[in-house]
Amino acid sequence: MVTNQASMKRNGIQDWVSLRATAVIIALYSFYLTFVFFTSPALTYEIWQGIFASLFMKVFTFATLVSIMLHVRIGLWQVLTDYIKPTGLRAGIQYVLNLIAFAYVAVGLFVLWGV
């Protein structure tokens, strides 16, 4: 049963809006990357690095990575509260998966820094 304060006190409206707001950014990034992929004559390392070297692309990529983390955080909480009823187990899995989601953002950030 999901009875703990941390779960019940979550704000449904905020989660609902956040999911949609982050989904828009993720979708825009996906479309943009697909567009770049298909309009580039050849995708050599230099061209690929050139794309990500611009400040716009760095900010856009980082915003997308953060959006994915927020999106995943809410989505995972919803899925886990549906399927995993023992509170301790659910909290543990949620903690580990959130850490992994954060790790992806951190790795992405370091990669962007390196470009």
């Binding site: 049963m1 999901v2 779960s7 019940m8 979550r10 704000n11 449904g12 409206i13 989660d15 609902w16 809006v17 919803q78 509260t81 549906d82 399927y83």
Partner: protein, 236 residues
């Protein structure tokens, strides 16, 4: 013509576990009938087969069940609509089984009670006779008031299966919106306060199973979307 059925059987007083029992029914070639009529005919040969039914014309909502994987009312579902093969009949999914096709609807009614399904009007002087509305206000209730609480929608909703104690479910939310939109109801804010959490409304992810199965052709997903909009407009 022989019709074959596979019907869910479970009597907790006798059976250790539920089982599917095979039945066959002889009908005239080309004859069609409702699933409920077939069940009544089968019950004549096996009186232990249990199911609920009352009005037998799609008004009372008693005989909601799962037929060939889709919830519906047995009394208005023709056998011809279920294809030519064996007809598999199970109780409404997600609800505890009392016996055979009879389910315990306590969770469903508890959620229905939560939304206070009655008109609340705190005006000092309510009309002593009919409480009339403008035609355009009355029209807003169309597509909402027709719900007969058969539970076909809520028991087809995975969000209700996993959180029947917290998610109000499509039927309850359809009724909630019916009172939220009623021009005579003055408890809109209180009603929205009751729904303003992460589970009651927002567990609906809009998969529209409820719309697909509603035997009255109603659209709970649309009503839930309207409630979400009302909650959002109030919050921003």
């Amino acid at each position: 013509m022989q019709l074959n059925f596979s019907i869910y059987r479970y009597n907790p007083d006798i059976d250790d576990a539920p089982r599917m029992q095979e039945y066959s029914l002889e009908v005239e070639e080309g004859q069609d009938m409702m699933v409920l009529d077939a069940l009544i005919a089968l019950k004549e040969s096996d009186p232990t087969l249990s199911f609920r039914r009352s009005c037998r014309e799609g008004v009372c909502g008693s005989d909601g069940m799962n037929m060939n994987g889709k919830n519906g009312l047995a009394c208005i579902t023709p056998l011809s609509a279920l294809g030519k093969g064996k007809i598999v009949v199970r109780p409404l999914p997600g609800l505890p089984v009392v016996r055979d096709l009879v389910v315990d609807m306590t969770q469903f009614y508890t959620q229905y009670e939560k939304i206070k399904p009655f008109l609340i009007n705190d005006d000092k002087q309510p009309p002593s006779r009919e409480f009339i509305q403008m035609p355009e206000d009355r029209a807003k209730l169309d597509g909402l008031y027709e719900c007969i609480l058969c539970a076909c929608c809520s028991s087809s909703c995975p969000s209700f299966w996993w959180n029947p104690d917290k998610f109000v479910g499509p039927a309850g939310l359809l009724h909630a919106y019916r009172f939220l939109i009623d021009s005579r109801d003055t408890a809109t804010d209180e009603r929205l306060n009751e729904l303003d959490d992460a589970f009651s409304v927002f567990r609906c992810h809009g998969i529209m199973n409820c719309v697909s199965v509603c035997p009255k052709g109603l659209n709970p997903t649309k009503a839930i979307g309207q409630i979400k909009s009302m909650l959002l407009q109030r919050a921003v």
